[in-house]
Amino acid sequence: MPHLLEGRLRLQYPNDVIGIHFDQLIAQQEKLSHCMKSVDFVLQTRDRLIFVEVKDFDAAPTGHVSQAIRDFRQARFDQDLVYKFRDTFLYYWANGLICGPTGISVDYFVLVTGLSSIDLLAATDRLRKKLPLSISGAQRQLANRCLVLHPRDWNHHFPNMPVTI
């Protein structure tokens, strides 16, 4: 089973899914990191693009964990998460994959360790509001599904694309 690696987090996916380490693609192949933000992974299935960003706070060096978590709780990561989504969305839009109302749908998932369900729930609400998910009068949603969730919960709902840490 092919897989993607970000730090100690490993995401496996089936052969019929295209998996891209997107931030490496932007930085190393496209050489666009000076002007574009990017999510960590993009998984392309038959009918959707799944953007995945990883925030593995449990892996942060001792002493940095609590500060990173505090920053996350205080919404200091929010804008970065929004720009990562928008620039990745723009990249695929420019490539013609998500053009028009019939274009492939987009999901955005942020996999986070070290936070409680309350933090994840609040972060989900904030992120959806800030993306935003949809624009009134628009023909399609910017993101169909958006969640900030723990890898454990990802595994529960995506058993064919398991995450291991």
């Binding site: 309350i118 989900t124 599904r145 958006c146 969640l147 709902h157």
Partner: protein, 341 residues
């Protein structure tokens, strides 16, 4: 002068429960009907009698209001006759003292109640105040005279808190610590409290606003302001606050918890009953190394008895009904999003 322990045997919701208190802030959490308010009332009754010199059981009746004032109705309901015992312990000048009241389900009035330890208990008076869920200052002028003259069916905590709010200022200058807290409360309320002919007003830049026109949450902050200003809440005093979050904008809870932590640092022992995540988390995030903060989680065991699990560490509150509810919300949010509903 801090309370150290309560033991409740066959009293209201409790078959047999003992809780040891910390000298700082004690936070009671638990689902509805686990008896958080009952515990606060027992403790308050025990404290109040040191000043009012009332009989312990009489005060229990006045704060619980059992039907027809029958004290025996406070005994845990079960088949046949049963005995109940309520015991509260505290530290008075480094000596442990306690008061207890024992009675049966057939006991009609406080005359039939056996009280032990009263003499030493009354010898060490302690200032205490109980802030109930419902704010009363807006109705204070009429309520106070009505309560004094008529048999009105109101738990005595309401009359008591109004009396405390009306207390005149202490003699002497207000110390630096209290002045700081008063200033902080004034900042949050955007004004200060004035009392004129027994009526409360919020004096702000916009003018003088009668309490009935002020938001209930702000009125509660106003009550705290009065209690600090008139010296009810000083070192050695005890504050009981049932659901401090009630009617309060979540943004105000952080500053309020900061004030409670500061009161605790000044030597006020505090008991809170809460259903609110923000209250818990603000206390946890704002606590400093030397702060004394203790969480008491009340829950029903498999036999239907109320139990308590106490911890100093926020992450170890268990069971935590508030956190469990958020966990359930989070799970349902994932479920809804991923099922495409």
């Amino acid at each position: 002068m801090s309370l150290t322990k309560v033991r409740l045997h066959n009293f209201t919701a409790f078959r047999d429960l003992t809780i040891e208190w910390g000298p700082g802030i004690n936070v009671l959490v638990g689902e509805n009907a686990t008896g958080k308010t009952h515990i606060l009332k027992v403790l308050y009754a025990a404290c109040d009698i040191t000043k009012s010199k009332k009989h312990f059981a009489e005060k229990l009746v006045r704060v619980f209001l059992p039907s027809k004032d029958i004290v025996g109705r406070l005994v845990h309901r079960q088949r046949g006759s049963s005995q109940c015992r309520v015991e509260v312990a505290r530290n008075a000048n480094d000596v442990q003292i306690s008061i207890s009241a024992a009675f049966s389900s057939h006991t009609k009035s406080h005359v039939g109640v056996t009280v032990k330890g009263a003499q030493k208990w009354y010898a060490h008076p302690v200032e205490s105040v109980y802030i109930p869920v419902k704010e009363m200052l807006a109705n204070a002028p009429g309520f106070r005279s009505l309560y004094a003259q008529r048999e009105v069916h109101f738990e005595e905590v309401y009359a008591d808190v109004v009396d405390r709010a009306y207390l005149p200022l202490l003699k002497g200058p207000v110390d630096q610590e209290r002045r700081k807290l008063l200033a902080e409360l004034q900042r949050i309320m955007e004004g200060r409290i004035k009392v004129e002919e027994e009526e409360f007003f919020l004096q702000s830049k916009q003018g003088k606003l009668e309490f009935s026109l002020v938001a209930e949450g702000v009125r509660k902050l106003g009550l705290l302001w009065l209690l600090i200003q008139n010296g009810t809440l000083l070192k050695g005093s005890i504050l009981f606050w049932d659901e401090p979050e009630a009617n309060l904008n979540p943004r105000l809870i952080g500053p309020l918890m900061e004030i409670l932590l500061q009161l605790q640092r000044m030597g006020v022992q505090i008991f809170l009953a809460t259903h609110d995540y923000v209250v818990l988390k603000e206390l946890d995030l704002r606590r400093q190394e030397n702060d004394d903060l203790r969480f008491h989680a009340l829950y029903y065991d498999d036999h239907g008895n109320v139990r308590c699990s106490s911890t100093d560490v926020y992450d170890r509150i268990h069971p935590n009904a508030i956190l469990d509810t958020f966990g359930s919300l989070y799970e349902r949010e994932i479920e809804r999003t991923l099922s495409g509903r």
